[in-house]
């Protein structure tokens, strides 16, 4: 089974450090990779694709030097490799228009405003990855202890097999 990655795109190193630390508990099952700009993120996505991995969740800032996060998310939505990726915007500076675009064109799954509560962040990541895993994985048991177990059990119930 190919690995499912979490990618974090954020230009400020201090904030990136914190995000990665907050999500450390997920790394047992979902390795985390980071990028500090949209251009870097593109390279990262390509690398993961070439290595046969998949991207389960993208956590993106909006205002970054070069291109903006929402534009990256829209690109990801249009790319078949990352269409299923859960997309989360984590920012303090996206105006209403940009957010609307993210929802409509990028199918944004969640919006987190900075500053964020670490427990909430982890919970949101777990929920989103649970959705991803249900949509794309055959075997759900290995995620039971790290994702949302009740949702996973519910899915097993409706599938009828493990």
């Amino acid at each position: 089974m190919s690995e499912i990655y979490i990618i974090c795109v954020e230009d400020e190193p201090q904030v990136l450090d914190v995000i990665v630390k907050d999500l450390e508990a997920m790394e047992e099952v979902f390795p985390i990779e980071v990028a500090s700009s949209v251009a870097e993120a593109r390279k990262l996505i390509k690398e993961i694709h070439q290595q046969g991995g998949r991207i389960g969740l993208a956590l993106c800032d909006h205002i970054m030097p070069g291109e903006y996060g929402v534009d990256l998310l829209i690109e990801m939505q249009n790319n078949p490799f990352t269409r299923n990726t859960r997309k989360v915007l984590i920012t303090g500076q996206a105006g209403l228009e940009d957010t609307i675009m993210a929802v409509n064109k990028a199918r944004l799954n969640h919006y987190i405003a900075k500053p964020w509560n670490p427990e909430e962040l982890l919970e949101i990541v777990r929920l989103e990855l649970t959705q991803y895993v249900i949509a794309t994985e055959k075997e759900l048991l290995r995620y039971m202890s790290v994702l949302d177990p009740v949702r996973l059990q519910e899915e097993i119930r409706s599938r009828g097999y493990i």
Binding site: Q14, D17, S36, K43, Q93, P115, W116
Partner: protein
């Protein structure tokens, strides 16, 4: 000899009398003069020796002023003019200009004698004419005096009104400046709050981490004997430079393969270390007995990283707060001498996030301090720079330069590489409610630039906009240094 008779001679009488005599007297007819409308008959200041009687048409009496001539009177048929210069020999006092086509009787001294001798009844008539004319003129003078008095009084009243209105306008202007400042502050505060988000999050979380980890580290450290490198790893962490790139990921991957027992977070930390710290850690990485010590050193490193994060974030917040404070300075009528470059710097700092994708070029040599209201002047910079950013859609170059012209004024140019301002808007751009932003936009009260102009003019300065050679607009502000 004609007896003195009290009589009122009407203009019509004079004209009729003279007209009746004209057919019989060739000599009289020789005294006739005709002028076209607009012709000057007698010019002020010239020599004159004739008395003119109007038989047909109108003559306007004008006095030359600075730029215009003032019409004193309009003389009708039967009136005469040129009397003063005729009688006193002094230069003409008021210019006489034909108001329409006129027929005049021009009587010079000789002719006057003749008339006196030959036509004594005309002489009488003429005398009567002169007196009634003079009386008429006198009456006019008195009337004019009275009028002038009235007008003066009215003028005083209006002057007072005007003073009052000016006061009100001043107040309104200040209020608008205040309001605009509030709006700007509002927008800036929002931007500031965003700006602060990142360092605040990083700060809080780093502190969280330290609060949680330090006690554990102390415990662990108390248990382990050999821990001489703790400080070394801590300081190495403080100097960590963050890199996100393919090369970095390759490095992490190689390390992960080399140390399959280590988890991803540990491998990541190792790959971020400087070579000297990395080399110092390697012996512990593969030694399973020294596992606790290895983890302790890694934690020391990460503690260093987060401590550094705290330092950086805190100083960013400090700078932002400082800038905000300078902006919220209330002007209670306090002018002060300020180096306006400071204000420009603070403005740029506060607008930090808006300028993320914009190349800012500063060309700010020494200039003398300007006597001004600093808060308001900053408002002007804020306004112009925000407009520039919006015009460039947050991507491009912003060039700020200043200079002292050597004769009491400081000049500031703020140029952008946006689409520029079309010529037809250049005048209108400073008028209130001019905005090209749809329905107000984020902050488009449309008052921004007009308030800026107001502020600049309040400081006796001038603000203009022109095209930047190479594309874009340049806003130029000239401020007198003041006393």
């Amino acid at each position: 000899m004609a007896t003195f008779r009290r009589n009122f001679v009407s203009n019509a009488d004079i004209v009729n009398t003279i007209n009746s005599m004209l057919p019989d007297s060739t000599w009289l007819r020789g005294l006739l003069r005709k002028y076209h409308s607009g012709e000057v008959i007698l010019r002020e200041g010239q020599e004159n020796d004739s008395l003119f009687v109007i038989l047909e048409g109108q003559v306007s009496m004008e006095k030359e002023g600075d730029n215009l001539s003032t019409r004193i009177d309009l003389q009708e048929p039967g009136d005469f003019f040129g009397l003063l210069s005729f009688h006193t020999g002094k230069p003409v006092f008021t210019t006489s200009r034909a108001h329409s086509d006129v027929t005049l009787l021009a009587i010079n001294h000789q002719s006057f004698e003749e008339i006196n001798n030959q036509y004594p009844n005309i002489s009488h008539t003429l005398q009567g004419m002169v007196f009634s004319n003079l009386a008429h003129r006198y009456k006019r003078v008195v009337m004019l005096h009275v009028e002038v008095d009235n007008l003066s009084r009215e003028l005083e009243k209006e002057k007072d009104q005007l003073k009052h209105t000016i006061k009100v306008l001043e107040k309104t202007r200040n209020m608008l400046i205040s309001q605009e400042k509030m709006a700007v502050l509002g927008e800036l505060t929002a931007g500031l709050a965003h700006e602060m988000n990142n360092p605040a999050s990083a700060l809080l979380r780093s502190v969280d981490f330290l609060v949680k980890n330090l006690p554990e580290m102390f415990d662990k450290s108390a248990r382990i004997q050999e821990k001489s490198l703790m400080r070394f790893f801590f300081e190495s962490g403080q100097q960590r430079e963050f890199v996100s790139s393919e090369g970095q990921r390759e490095k992490t991957r190689n390390l992960a393969e080399k140390y399959p027992d280590l988890g991803r977070p540990e491998v990541r930390l190792m790959s971020e270390m400087h070579p000297d710290a990395f080399d110092a850690l390697v012996p512990y990485a593969s030694n399973s007995r020294k596992r606790e010590l290895f983890e302790l050193y890694l934690e020391a490193f990460q503690t260093g990283v987060f401590t550094n994060s705290i330092t950086l974030s805190a100083s960013r917040i400090e700078n932002l707060v400082k800038s905000l404070r300078s902006f919220s300075r209330h002007n209670k009528g306090e002018r002060e001498k300020m180096d306006i470059r400071k204000g420009i710097g603070e403005t740029l700092m506060i607008l930090g996030s808006r300028l993320k994708n914009i190349e800012v070029e500063l060309n700010l040599p020494e200039i003398p301090p300007v006597n001004c209201y600093p808060g308001e002047i900053n408002q002007v910079w804020t306004n112009i720079i925000i407009n520039a950013c919006d015009a460039m859609e947050e991507k491009g170059r912003l060039i700020v330069s200043c200079r002292y012209d050597g004769s009491g004024s400081v000049w500031v140019d703020i140029a952008d590489t946006g689409p520029g301002i079309p010529a037809k808007f250049r005048k209108k751009i400073f008028s209130p409610s001019f905005t090209t932003k749809a329905a107000g936009g984020e902050f488009g009260l449309g008052l921004g630039l007009s308030i800026s102009k107001s502020i600049v003019e309040k400081h006796q300065g001038i603000i203009t906009v022109s095209d930047r050679p190479g594309g874009g607009a340049v806003f130029t502000v000239r401020l007198p240094v003041g006393n």
